[in-house]
Symmetry: C2
Subunit: 383 residues, 2 copies
């Protein structure tokens, strides 16, 4: 399903030889219209990979109707040559598709600081273009995997229209978009401005609230393309909700497949004076390595939650904080609450509620535990 | 040597039974004068342990001349009862020493969210007071250990005067002072205001730049006491430098003994537009879990250094960044530099130089790698 669930799109995924192990590493997504609208959201990291710099420019042209994605190399920190390579990639895809280079967004993921093998990548684009298909969404999703153990796709449907997408990402997952590439397509007949509005609204409460390991990537990209092929222009709220659902589902899949993780941790901050306070507190808890280790050890260590809250600038009084772990209020009024032995920590999902008792705003951040497997994977895999 | 290296101080360290394993857990440090000056710096965490709240008040009284320290329990997040316990501890020590409670600072370290066994702690104070000795510094340093594998002491000497200290800390080591208790003593004849100035200047560039795991504790305390027993009032600069040396040495010992660490990582940020920029960048690098894993795997992964720099607000241009690891400039002008295979990563100490090429300011942050042992220790030990 993936990016070809919506009408008006074709996709392909092939092994171009960029990855030395021969796994699929090149994907192509093409919008056949009739509309060719697009929106994009990119990493907030100031060290941006060449494909991010290129795609930001392409998006400003208002003409993006195709995406080339490669795994096996991030093309980040590669200087002018890296940017030339991205440009050559867009030109080659444009030629193969009969379009201008500026109509082609480029996404790359993999090792930072290494040039891409263009002698493999460019011929691969021809191969992929020849295999474009209305059923190619799943192959495309598979071709963008790096350390992902599974490929990630999602679909939401409205009355006669569809939103579908694919994502990759398993590490360097953090704020302002995780190390992840996401392409979402729709056949709803929606213009650039509406796509942009719906995409920003959705990413703000989904991908931006996924924080697996606090590390922000140089390559994060989320693209939303509309073909208008359904001929239907939905109500904004219904369309935005469908986009949010797909983003939320894909974000949840990223957390579920995070490198080395054994727990998916939902941190729900309630009683905040502002949404910004709730997000700041949620993120501080999500990034506390000691807490992440404790949860890995199935230890409902609420002291580490309070210690993390205490480092924020949010409105709260220390002696009014309450914390529940898996439904047990282990901390009340900043001190010992219900018996921590009542907390059942056996399952993969852990639910923390942090009540700041300072207002009515809330936010939910998803994170993972910190495990020896995370250390092993990231001390052995150079990315 | 430790806190009794300087004249005019006695100390003791005993096993009061606070720790269930019978290890030493209670220390006493007493200033016999003739001067009884003191200064203190406390955690920036807004969730402060009862002993921190008490000691901050005591320090404001301007009369602190003794310190009780216990391991085996942090007395943090323990509500009004926890504060009463700290107060009772100060009163008991005051009685034993013939002083007022307000003259006694209290420091605690160990598990958060558990009340201290006062039936063990209070009698222990009498035992410790009976064992006070001018040679008790080392025993005191041993009694404040938690997960520390070694006790930590340091001494610096001037012309006829001495600064000596002890520290504990092995985890929850981060900014605005690490989880650590430090007591420094001097027989230099120095008043409260000068002690305060020298202590704040020293901690700002030493303990505040130790960031082992990004986790800020509820109990961090650094105290500096002067007995004036040498009869000498040194020049400020010489005295401040001696205090800085002792703080730097103790901070370095904390990093060297950090939980589960296999590397001590010196992050030197140069070419910064401001010292604040240099500190922000150094701390961002120090807290990047992916980099910390890579260094554990002896992988000179400079891409993760750039990725961390890119998340800061410091002044820099991405295409002018340079990074050296152990003397090899693996990244030049934001792109591939010298051959990364030239980097020798076999030793415990790793030296990263991050050149922002934006000015002349510098800062050095010390951190550790992220290891499976860190995960094991912190998923098994509830602290």
């Amino acid at each position: 399903m993936s990016v070809t669930a919506a009408k008006g799109f074709r996709a392909a995924g092939i092994a171009a030889g960029i990855k030395q192990n021969g796994n699929p590493d090149l994907a192509l997504v093409v919008n056949d219209g009739p509309r060719r609208a697009a929106a994009g959201v990119f990493t907030a990291n100031r060290v941006k990979a060449a494909p991010v710099l290129w795609s930001e420019q392409a998006m400003k042209s208002g003409q993006v109707s195709a995406v080339v994605l490669n795994s096996g190399g991030a093309n980040a920190c590669t200087g002018p040559k890296g940017f030339q390579d991205t440009h050559a990639t867009a030109e080659k895809a444009g030629e193969a598709l009969g379009r201008g280079a500026i109509e082609v967004a480029v996404c790359s993921t993999g090792l930072i600081g290494v040039l891409l093998p263009m002698d493999k990548l460019l011929p691969g684009i021809d191969t992929a273009a020849a295999q474009l298909s209305e059923h190619g969404g799943e192959k495309a999703a598979i071709a963008i995997k790096t350390t992902d153990t599974v490929h990630k796709t999602s679909v939401a449907t409205g009355a006669g229209w569809t939103v579908g997408g694919m994502a990759k990402g398993a590490g360097m997952l953090a704020p302002g978009l995780a190390t992840m590439l996401v392409v979402i397509t729709t056949d709803a007949d929606v213009d650039d401005a509406t796509l942009d509005q719906a995409l920003r609204a959705a990413t703000k409460v989904t991908f931006d609230r996924v924080d697996s390991d606090g590390c922000m990537s140089t390559n994060d990209t989320v693209l939303l393309l509309s073909s208008g092929a359904s001929g239907i222009t939905p109500e904004y709220d219904a369309f935005a909700e469908a986009v949010r659902q797909v983003c939320d589902d894909l974000g949840r899949q990223l957390i579920g497949d995070a490198e080395g993780a054994s727990k998916d941790i939902k941190i729900e901050v309630v009683g905040a004076a502002s949404e910004a306070d709730a997000v700041e507190v949620g993120r501080s808890i999500a990034r506390n390595n000691l807490l992440k280790c404790a949860l890995h050890g199935e230890d409902p260590n609420w002291g580490r939650v309070l210690s993390a809250i205490g480092t924020t600038s949010a409105v709260f009084e220390p002696d009014q904080l309450n914390v529940a772990i898996n439904g047990v209020w282990v901390c009340k009024n900043g001190s010992v609450g219900e018996d921590r032995d009542l907390v059942d920590m056996r399952y993969r999902e852990v639910h923390i509620v942090a009540d700041l008792a300072a207002g009515t705003e809330t936010a939910t951040i998803w994170t993972n535990d910190l495990t020896a497997d995370y250390v092993h994977e990231n001390s052995a895999y150079s990315s």
